[in-house]
Assembly symmetry: D2
Homo-oligomer: 447 residues x 4
């Protein structure tokens, strides 16, 4: 498949083989979040956003495989480098008990966990975050960030935000303030307080519509909470404030300057630790390496996963506990192949100037979409290739996602009535145009 000329073609979706596969899969699989019956044929042609399913439909995946393939499928920027790699057993290693090297440590044949950590800390150097704890998932990256902060601060409170989603394990889940279904009937850890999260990227203290700033004069809710005289949480007892720099699951919400400046001011005054959960927003997605890079707020801990292919908790060596055995994970430094793909992804972002491409292509997407007169669209927004279209109802959004799939475009929902679009970081003008055309048509279909 030549990516430069590839086109979308859908015979029937889902086709008979997909249905067969899905039926077989669900004989054994517990109910989960399966979105539609897209069955990737891993043996078939795929290139960047173009992917072939088991019924030979060619689809344009503008979800980047739900964020797990930040450069799309079989991208030569990654795959060509992996040619050096021969599969070994085990791939899943005891990487926080033992070490490995692909041959001579000074010149390993391919990057392993150590190289991945080296590359990661380069991206967080500006914050002084020089140390990494690798784990197996985004949820584990968050759990370890929490543990690091509880240990470093001796605090008992965590501050989270309305709409937050940080994972599914019981610690991370206790931080969630998005749909209640994620937490229903599950026990939670104690001491987590929430405040509203900005839902208008252009708002000021005076025009705030989430309640974080009651009005132009009165202090923000977070400032009231932490007020040393009248507040109900002792700032010295705050283990961390955890923030998605852009809320993902909560609906691709981009906070305003006023909002972030207030967080930064309170951090300055009170000295609590800030965790940036960059699992969705990081790894170049917004046109910055980390979404928070564009903010006046320096994080103490950064959590990464998805595009990184392993979970990572990055902080300074002073913040991490020094005693061994406080943190660990059997497979903590990941799968050899995953660590390699993660390292190659970071290198590809640097080598191919993909941050600039993300910014340019994201702008193009919004511009092209904005030129159309599309029905039922309340808002189209984004930064880099973290893009969202908000509709007039949940049903409409679901209808558009379905209509798009029928036309060969894969997208996802988030929030209650928002559709998210996250093309590969090296997406081209041609692909953006193609995606906008398909999406616009789907919006018309669903009108």
């Amino acid at each position: 498949m030549d990516r430069a000329t590839a086109t979308v073609s859908v015979d029937s979706f889902p086709g008979p083989k997909a249905e067969q596969r899905v039926e077989y899969h669900h004989r054994f699989a517990a109910p989960s979040t399966y979105v539609y019956e897209f069955v990737w044929d891993t043996l078939a042609d795929a290139a960047g956003p173009f992917v072939t399913d088991v019924d030979s439909n060619v689809l344009l995946d503008f979800t980047s495989h739900v964020g797990a393939a930040p450069l799309g499928y079989n991208n030569p920027k990654i795959l060509d480098r992996m040619a050096e790699f021969d599969l070994v057993d085990p791939l899943k290693i005891a990487g926080q008990d033992f070490y490995l090297s692909a041959g001579d440590p000074t010149e390993p044949a391919y990057p392993g966990p150590a190289e991945l950590m080296d590359l990661l800390t380069e991206t967080t150097e500006r914050y002084g975050l020089d140390t990494v704890f690798l784990s197996n998932s985004g949820a584990e990256a968050v759990e370890n960030a929490m543990k690091v902060c509880y240990d470093a601060s001796h605090g008992k409170y965590g501050v989270t935000f309305e709409g937050a989603f940080h994972g599914r394990t019981l610690g991370a889940l206790s931080l969630n303030r998005s749909k209640e279904v994620y937490r229903r009937r599950f026990p939670e850890i104690h001491g987590i307080h929430e405040v509203p999260y900005c839902d208008d990227r252009a708002c000021t203290r005076a025009t705030c519509s989430c309640g974080f700033f009651p009005n132009a004069e009165t202090p923000s809710q977070l400032r009231r909470m932490l007020d040393p005289e009248s507040g109900y949480v002792d700032p010295a007892d705050v283990a961390y404030l955890i923030l998605e720099p852009v809320q993902g699951e909560g609906g691709y919400r981009f906070p305003s300057d006023a909002f972030v400046e207030e967080l930064a001011a309170l951090r300055e005054e009170h000295g609590f630790l800030v965790i940036a959960d960059e699992i969705q927003s990081g790894m170049g997605r917004t046109g910055e390496f980390w979404a928070v890079d564009d903010y006046p707020l320096d994080p103490d801990v950064v959590c990464a996963a998805k595009g990184l292919r392993v979970g990572a908790t990055v902080a300074s060596s002073e913040t991490f506990p020094t005693e061994t055995s406080r943190l660990s994970s059997t497979w903590g430094a990941g799968d050899i192949a995953d660590a390699m793909q993660g390292a190659l992804t970071i290198e590809a972002i640097h080598d191919h100037d993909l941050l600039a491409n993300a910014t340019a292509m994201g702008d193009l997407f919004l511009e092209l979409l904005g030129e159309r007169e599309l029905p039922n669209v309340l808002d189209a927004r984004g930064k880099g290739l973290m893009l969202a279209v908000e509709f007039d109802s949940k049903q409409r959004r679901d209808d558009v996602v379905d209509a798009a799939v029928q036309r060969g475009l894969l997208t996802l929902g988030c929030g209650t009535r928002t559709l998210r679009v996250l093309p590969p970081l090296d997406v081209t003008e041609r692909e953006i145009t193609m995606g906008v055309d398909l999406l616009a048509a789907a919006i018309e279909d669903a009108a």
Copy 2:
């Protein structure tokens, strides 16, 4: 390297390249559980338990790479089958959102997550556990088992055991009753009660030395806790009892029949759910596929990881929540290569009769070790290839581990003064003999 003739050879351990690698690694890595400076050279020769480090030392790894390589290194029983597999991007997939197949679903070129689940549920068929939730680690397997049980039972209490270790995320960690360092300063979920865990596999109610049975006449502590008249926990409010069929981290403790029969009797009376955490003990390690297979106790949920290469929570479809979105994980069906290695491992166990081999070789190990007059050994015990030697002190145990490494034998500690030995499931008589010789020599060294 020919496994049949391979020998251990240690020049210096750790050698200069290992030290170099370790130094580089720790420039970035947070403190964790690193045991000794073993650096696997992934490009060098390795076969079953024999593995070459970056300084060309050949070692006998009787830890099976900390359990992550149940058949040792580059075992052709697995690796030959993987030849069919060409690396793709992404390897780490959104397997609870999208599906995949390696070509035609009816005849995939290699097993994927669906095939892995199919194989897994065959092993739990006797318990009626027909449904799987795949996740990224043992900790996540446990967290999801907890969630499944809270949801199914509406209960608020969990019962765990002294010495238990179930993982590091805050939910799983709340179940731990091994060393306090794992939990110090971290918040825990509420409602977890502990009772003693049997520490004498031959005990009876009358000879019990852990306190679970106070004496021959009085009820067990668990029975007292759940007594409908005088107990302090309402059995109807028990979400689960979670059990390692053999305690791993807690010191390779094999419970007695009396102990397990009491658990089974109480489950029968009160109807609570039982989670078997088989992360260390499962996948053939004890000579049964699951350690619990040899017990008169039918689990409602089985947790697996380590040798399985992905995390898995197995239960019946009736126990799992039916609503979508209650459980999920971005990479929940794992990495394609890991799922494949997991499936191939299960097949290898079946195809090569490795359960019988584990039993025979484990017996041989204990027999050969028992023939020696070894100083400072309090107990040698095991089932299948889950083997342990208990010493007179923690210091002694640590000294033996160190002395063994110097002689080229990799082992691990557990409990406070126990050394664990877990050879590959297809270990041979020759290798067992070699291992016992090295271990015996190390014990003498440390005397």
Copy 3:
């Protein structure tokens, strides 16, 4: 002392005997909230608000003995009725194990716990609250309200408000969102969420200054929290919403109609239980028997104490658990003398039309105070005899309280810079005038 002619006279405050008493008291007493060195001489003359201290100073107590003496000192409306009572031993009875009657049950010589409950349920009849659980304090009244709601609803979440104060025991304390010092280092129960509490009794959705209503169009924060589609708390899982109809400790905050109507609308939609904590605001203080009587919100549980002389949790028999042993308290039906004083207080409120007096005298207080040009006063507000003056700073407020004491007027602080005034319910014009004069002078002193 003739109340009609009594005057305030302060020689020195605190005088030498007070200092002596306080010194002796603090040889044994743990640090607590002691406000100033007022030492009531229980043998000396006292009448309504007039009270003599051990140094023969005559003071005007406009705190009603911190709310514990709703009719002031030795009020004949109560004391004359108590003449029938001869002291017995024990006074503190096992009133939820045994019963008592002062002679013939059909005509007891004085009211006991049963009569007190009878009188109480008359005041809550309009809400259908026909059943009472008596306890020993306001904190216990709240703890039992919580227990009743957890039991009736099977819910796990509680909703509380910024600025709330509900008591000091660990359950009630978990609901507090006033000063952090009350909770610091103490464990709390889980599942409590807070939202802002109205701080402008005249506000609308559009002018809200606390953030509860972000603006005129968007839903309130509580509505967002409970939204069945996007909210983070399942309304079906809410055990209770607990509300001070007027916030006491939080600063005598009177909520707006818009605020209370939204609570009522959400209760109507979602059916959760509402607890009205009337410990400060009830028993006629606001000119209604319960402060909530003037609201469009019907409580499911009412908590009373202070003026009632015992703790009381009032709800319908359907809401209370029916199983015995779920609720109890050794001295649960109180001290015989306290129950009698509580009953006589309710009767006095009815017999002497004290609700109307509270309204008239409260209005007079605000009118007289409003006529003055007083420096540094930001707001004067109140309903009935629950009155507050807000100053420009905490220091100013403290200075006014001190200056007032020096002039013979006892008042208290609340919130951060508010002074509260709570005269006896039968306060007269003469006394109100006297109190305003003293307070105005104190405000000038502190300017």
Copy 4:
């Protein structure tokens, strides 16, 4: 009524007036622990254990009014002193905000809260406990003990015992390990661990029947829990160990020397704080002023209530928080009349040598009872006047309690099949003989 000649006389129990009163009471009262329809006529004759109910039955109350009347009814040792007291309003005072004195502080007419605290700290002087926090109930005494320890230790764990009962508020309730009905569906604070409580006052490590000592050689369960190397609770993180020196609700269990010595040894090694909950066992009940006085274990905090008439938390000034506002309670220094009765009770114990009487009369009770051949009695035990008879079943115990009431003797149940007897501290030989006769007859009735 002359106590020296008074006799028991029961016409019908419950009589018609009692039934009438109970019916009226339950029109309003929530279900609680009401044991039988005993209705004290507070106007009728009563003397020590003899009390007249509303139907003119004269009963022998060997429950000391459920512990609330440690000297029985209208005991002149207390009542004669109370003659000095004229009722005032309020009785229930704001005793942690304001102070009081009954006239001249150097010579008050009757003892107030300060005198009560003075008397209390004399009894705890041997432990260096010189400071008191007064509250409204036993539950509040425990809640404040917990708060004091959390504050002083910065610890997060509490250790409690099987069978423990410490109160009903949610903090105290979290410590309970007696019947589950007390905790069902109520949230609890986290971090509470339980170990078995001795159930054989004569046991040794070798004969232990509760499991606390597994056998003669292995460490106790508490020692294992706190072991610095292998234990699951960091001793430095233990806020307190809370102990009933004799378990009350749990069944009048008197711990063995071996048990208490182990607690003392662990306290010595690890330095955690020990709370003695003396609510049932203190105030002379066991023949010591505090039950713990006879133990080799020095408490850091003592909780008292019941016989004391107010709640009290006694500790050293170093253990209490020094910051004001950390602890408080509106009615915290109690009701004037209650504080007076409490003080007079302590004085009566000293003045009339009631500790010696308790020991002698308790021994007599057990001796007289032991002389009989009584059916279905498994054990009779006690210390001082804290006496218990254990039967072969719960039903039997309940039958004996009922039969005793019919004969005019009031007793109570505890544990599952134990009957408790707690006569007034100044009980006489004549009364003990009378009580044993009635009890023996009741036991025969229920055979």
